[in-house]
Amino acid sequence: MKEDMILLREIERYLEGEMSEQEKTAFDELRRTNPLINQQVEEHQLFLQHLGNYGQRQHLQAKLDKIHQQLDMPTLRKQAQESNQTAKRLLIRRRTITNLAAAACIALVTSLSTIAVIQNVARNKSTAQYEDVRRVLNNIQRSQNALINDMNSKSKAPLNPGTYGGTGFAVSGNGYIVTNYHVVAGADSVYVQNNKGEAFKAVSIFEDISSDLAVLKIADSTFKSQPLPYALKPQNVKLGEEVFTMGFPRDEIVYGKGYISAKTGFNGDTTAYQVSIPVNPGNSGAPLLDGKGDVVGIVTGKQTTSDGIAFAVKSAHLKHLLDEMPKDKQIRRDLNHKSHLEGMNRVDQIKKLEDFVYMVKVYN
């Protein structure tokens, strides 16, 4: 213990440079020869260094504490709290905005996709809701037709009744007939047949796809022209006006009665009416007539989802179409005179009319 202390004192004297030159050389010699003492010296050096660091840090700490005490803590506290509150508010606001933005995005995407889906569905539905009323003739009808043809042997029409059927009506005495475009679309040959069973070959001379109308001309020598009993009414008919139609949903002419139920057609089509009238496949192209026997429209199709709703192209549009036709195909204006059917009762009107309504048979 005592020796340790003496050694420590010697080491300190050595490190602090208090030794005389002679002593120092002796001590250096001792360090070199005695590793234990050398280690002690180094250890002490390290210790002093640590002690120095310790002191330095304590000193610094004291200075810091002093500075800290000089700070105006109440003010700083208040400032910090205030700024924290604004930061918190901002954070909340930012969070709210972010959330809102996310919600808005989701809402937007959802509504857009919903609209897209609905529109898609609606489009699909529209096509499903609208149906052309041309007739697909089946075998039974064919055989029936064949029988009729047998009975009326003067007809030169082919025995085959055709693939599709519709209705058409004369717009001039010399064999111009209006029907629907969809009836004659893609036809190889077209025959028209009246209620008496007389069939004539016809050719389509003008087609308007947008309004679904086609003009046929009878190209048959046996056809005899006769004056039309009815006229084309270019004015719009009033809502609720009673109308009737005659068409060939079967091989027999069929009379149907109804009224104008809307001034626009399918999906708001302004060139057409909505008509509440029984319509069946085969009625396509049938004339729509008012009480005076004037043509007010052409039956084109019906709505599949509800019964008794049909659509008819307005006669004004037909007139427009006839006016538009190329000069070389111009029709004699038989339609402009006054109707001969006015004042007649319905039965007589029909009797007069049925000669001018044709069944259109299409082969393809």
């Binding site: 210790f47 120095g52 310790y54 610094l60 200075k63 810091l64 800290h68 709290q81 924290n84």
Partner: protein, 204 residues
Amino acid sequence: MVLWVTKCLITVLRVKQNQDITRDRELLLGLAKGDDKSLEIIYSENFPVVLRMILQHNGSEDDAKDVFQEAIIVLYEKVQSGDFTLSSRLKTFLYSVCRHLWLKKVQRTYGLYALSPELEEVIPATEELEEHNARDQEFRIMEGAMSSIGQPCQTILEDYYLHKKSMQEIAEKFGYTNAENAKNQKYKCLMRLKKLFFDQYKTP
């Protein structure tokens, strides 16, 4: 035109930042020399930000003080060692060190998962702190050893080794008959301190 204005703005900002860094470097130079004024400026300018940060993360004012002072010590050690060049602004450096220290403190106290997710590091300060941790360890050991050798011993050693007082002064202060007696007492104390210190301090 817009481009030109933007360019000018960027230049101005850069110059401003450079000025700030230059000023920060001057302050650090002062700190290295032990200039109390520099220390005071650094302390009073940066403490409010740290206080705000700690308060924001549910710390107390004392927490803020502890953390900030530790950061200053880190900075001081760095500057003293002489190989420290300031790459970011002093404010950023202190702020990130404080954040890091607070993070560790919270982890120690409340466990790993009690952390708010916003308390992430701005600048990773791990490197700076590793060195500091070693030094801090040494300091704690020395502090512990000092406090366990008793008041008179501690004062003698501090007076001699830290406050660089002469043995004569110490002898007078403690009422020893002569400096030689005081010296003997000092060696006794020193030996106890060394023993306590090296018991815990493993020589590398």
